[in-house]
Symmetry: C2
Subunit: 600 residues, 2 copies
């Protein structure tokens, strides 16, 4: 009789014969576990956790890869573990999934009590007659039980016409005491959520009645054409008369494109979008709103505004329902923005006891440390190296990108997105590669290559020494290499992050070992192999079970704010309680940074 | 010893020898009394009222012209009355003043308790430092004692830059809890008031701190290019795809021009205008706001909106301070608009005891009747004849326009605007002419010419019979005539007004003789000779002392609403209590109208 196996949280179920490995069961259930070595137990990547049910005891290979604490906590290698009872519940952490599937794990529904700012009213009114000469607006006001109901100017302009086109029966979208849209009867209002990253935009279309995410899309931030990092863009904005407007128009254009594509995906109309929430770091927030950024680019780096804002979408160039508003979550300070507040909203870090460290990894990496009743936060200029920029063979996590690397016996094992022939390295592959080169002592703690003669894949080129990741003769002539300057880019990125972490720990008076929980957020934070990050010193050394990869938590927090007025208020409380630490003026920063460049 | 004479309400004082006529005294004081006959006592136009002081007893001429009741009440002809004590106070009614001076009588200050929607705050904040990293907005919020202070999106866009340009000291214009403008320290906020008439626009620039009117300007409504009356414009708006937008853009363009010229006149900046009030009839109100008018143009003639509105000025195309609002007073019904509500605000008709009839004369003439605790109102399509349209020699009250006419012994006496040679007839001249032709029995009650042989000025032309007002040989060859079709235009105009009045009186169950007060509003209402209006049956027959000419009361009411939140609330109460009477569906209307065409 076959046994039932449930894979959580991805939500797949299968029945298999006793003795089947978890790796085989997962594959047959359509769960794409990372497995570089093909089930030999040598790559150590198909890590899962047995939550309930009986399985085979840990093998020697597993004890070696995972250590006694982790195996005791139920962590196993799927290729080494066979099923021995019915049913089994198996937890699959994000970093054990192949890229293609990891994006699917982002929750489609957000768990908050629904209390959206906009509510639909089904309105049916009597047409005017000679005995009932009330204005069209007065007639609609009488049908909607909200005191002092007003109409947005642009809604009012269409009211009389739409009322008659709809034969006096329609759906009115009401925000507090204002009608912001009129739609055919029965239409549910939608909400738009955008997480504006320095490099990437993530957008979601949400049903305000159910809280369901109907569509999600990502895109590059087109401002990249004007500079990769925040400071370059601020300089562009202040050094050219039309610079800020170029940046604003590029971003708003992309957002209007995303909201159009989201609607097409969900077969809905743009006019159905009755509310929006936009989050981003403070610079993106300012550039999006058309706020001046000069004062943000020079000490003491102050924002024009850090409070939450409710603005008419049309006033910032977003085309939604005619009277729709856009809500901007509050920002913490010059470089800790509304996206970080949204992440705190989604993860609950700000209200947690114990010592919790949260890192939201991106072109800027924001770090929050909650410890002893205090909440410190800083922003680190980690740069876009993990997005593939400045790395010779770097690329986005597109098909052909190497996303996992293992080096065993001078052989490089890898896995690509889509399993096709490799064309470059994406962030998680780069991180794995550096960690594996360090573990194999191909590079030393300073990042320098060592033992040239002893490693067949190490050679000297015009650019200095380089490591051959994929040989041309193995890959139809396409060679992929990694050199000293690529390693340096990763050292700079991880050094910035880690210096920020260390300064916050020092300020709070807690040690690495005191950390009860490490939360890793951001799209790249989902894909990366946590152990690789720990091994090169990007993250503090904490037990695997204390690490939580939460994906694009900023997007989740923004959706929570879209769906709930209470969450908007919570965001304001959180933003006010966070104590900002400005790293550039921190006396210890440069020594911490120099120290953090080392690969542990 | 010379005696002191005060002329009220124009506010001129002079000392003259005892025995001087009031007409001479007025001329020397710079008070331009109408005097067509040159002081002979034959034209009966230099009517004034002695409020205090001793003057000569009434002459036989005065008793004949004015009757015993009026002379007993102190009404006199200025040319027949000499001064006999010190001091004398003389009231000069508007219709006894020459046009040029009548506009000056419009009050420069409006008597309301100042409670404007926008208040200025002198703000001085400390620049940010490394120890004070609050955002610019937070710093300004802390300096302005208003809870939950927010910034308009467009103000926020300039905040950081303007803060630094002003070295952190400036004036913030605050409306409720929103900053709508930032200006140099010490700047008082201004308000704009516009009365949008079908034919004319009147605009005022008001100091919100003092209530003073700093500048006033009039202009033609450029929508005239698309049709003279309301119905033609509504047809234009609905019959052409871009028709409504053409009308809207034309009007908004004119308003932006007026507010620029007003600022130039007062040497102020457009960005100083922090609030605005716009009034107009319902069609003008809708076309200005870009609201649909189709349903306004066909039975049952309902408005899209009749409540008071507060809209961002930029949302309706008005360029003022970046965050300024425009307030629209409520309208009563399809054709009784916010201008009528403003008139009621200024005159207090709605709160009056007794029987009060108020007529606001324009291209549409709105009539209000307050009687026995009820308030009825209607709108009559009086047309633009009194603005000179459709009258062969009609013209605006520009220099050369005949504004007063008296016919004595087959001679036509007249007075022109600016006293130059006559070039045409303006509204008050047309009204006088028809009344005088009727008094002299040149026309009969039906408006037909009679007694051709007996009147040297009556002749037959290609267009039928006509009356020669000015002979070519008296006026360098320029002849001015008035024919049957001109008379018919005036009959239609006055017939429409009077039919409305009669229907309201009938509805309220009161007679003409019950009227305690007749209020005549509108620019033309200031210029016309009340007795002429009564004599042709345009107005009901009431005693002169019961008549009040209040000028552009709509503009005054709108200024009151600009300066006082309490007045805005009062306007809403008034609009709600008025009972609208739709004349086109009134069964008696056509018989009343036919009857009212007669010239009494």
């Amino acid at each position: 009789m076959p046994f039932q196996v449930d894979f959580e949280p991805i939500g797949r179920r299968i029945r298999v014969e006793p003795g089947t490995t978890l790796l085989d069961a997962a594959q047959r259930a359509g769960v794409l576990l990372t497995s570089i070595c093909g089930g030999e137990g040598s790559c150590g990547r198909c890590i899962v956790r047995v939550m309930s049910g009986q399985v085979s005891p840990p093998t020697a290979i597993e004890r070696g890869e995972l250590g006694p604490d982790q195996t005791a906590a139920g962590w196993r290698l799927a290729c080494q573990t066979t099923i021995a009872s019915d049913p089994c519940i198996i937890h699959v952490p994000p970093d054990s999934l192949a890229t293609a599937q990891r994006t699917q794990t982002e929750g489609q529904a957000v768990a908050v009590e629904l209390q959206p700012a906009v509510q639909p009213f089904d309105v049916q009114v009597a047409p005017p007659t000679l005995d009932d000469l009330r204005s069209d607006a007065a007639r609609v006001r009488a049908a909607i039980p909200r005191p002092d109901l007003a109409f947005d100017a642009h809604v009012l302009r269409r009211l009389s016409t739409e009322l008659r086109d709809a034969q006096f029966h329609f759906s009115a979208f009401v925000r507090r005491s204002e009608v912001v849209g009129l739609r055919p009867a029965g239409t549910a209002p939608l909400g738009l959520v955008v997480d504006v990253g320095t490099t990437k935009l993530a957008a979601y279309l949400v049903d305000l009645n159910t809280g369901d995410t109907l569509a999600a899309l990502g895109a590059m931030n087109p401002q990249i054409a004007y500079g990769e990092d925040v400071m370059t863009r601020i300089n562009h904005a202040i050094s050219r008369p039309d610079g800020a407007e170029q940046l604003r128009a590029a971003m708003v254009g992309a957002l209007n494109g995303l909201r159009r594509d989201l609607c097409a995906q969900a077969s809905r109309e743009v006019a159905d979008i009755a509310d929006a929430v936009v989050v981003g770091n403070t610079a993106m927030h300012h550039l999006f709103l058309g706020l001046p950024v000069r004062q943000l680019g020079q000490a003491p780096f102050v924002a024009a505004e850090n409070a939450a804002l409710d603005l008419k979408a049309r006033d910032v160039g977003l085309e939604l329902a005619p009277g729709a508003y856009v809500h901007l979550l509050p920002t913490v300070a010059g470089f800790v923005g509304a996206d970080h507040v949204a992440m705190l909203l989604a993860t609950g870090v700000a209200e947690r006891d114990g010592v919790v460290l949260a890192m939201d990894i991106g072109t800027n990496t924001e770090v929050s440390l909650r410890a002893r009743g205090k909440h410190l936060a800083c922003s680190t200029a980690s740069g876009p190296a993990f997005e593939g920029a400045h790395i010779r063979f770097g690329m986005r996590a597109a098909p052909g990108a190497i996303e996992r690397v293992a080096i065993r016996d001078q052989k490089v094992h890898y896995q690509t997105v889509g399993n096709g022939p490799p064309t470059g390295l994406c962030g998680s592959g780069i991180l794995d590669l550096v960690a594996e080169m360090r573990r194999a002592n191909i590079i030393d703690v300073r990042g320098a290559f060592q033992g040239e003669g002893r490693n067949l894949r190490l050679r000297r080129s015009g650019r200095g020494r380089e490591f051959v990741v994929v040989r041309g003769d193995e890959n139809n002539g396409t060679e992929i290499t990694f050199d000293r300057s690529d390693i340096a880019e990763i050292q700079l990125a991880k050094g910035a992050m880690r210096a920020g972490v260390n300064i916050l720990l020092k300020r709070a008076g807690v040690r690495q070992a005191d950390i009860d929980e490490l939360i890793i957020a951001g799209a790249f934070g989902t894909y990366l192999d946590v152990q690789s990050g720990i091994d090169i010193g990007m993250f503090p050394r904490v037990e695997r079970s204390k690490v939580k990869q939460v994906g694009n938590a900023a997007g989740t927090g923004a959706r929570m704010a879209l769906l709930s007025a209470a969450q908007r208020e919570r965001a304001e409380r959180i933003a006010r309680q966070v104590e900002y630490v400005e790293l550039t003026t921190e006396p210890d920063f440069s020594s911490e940074f120099t120290h953090a460049l080392g690969l542990e």
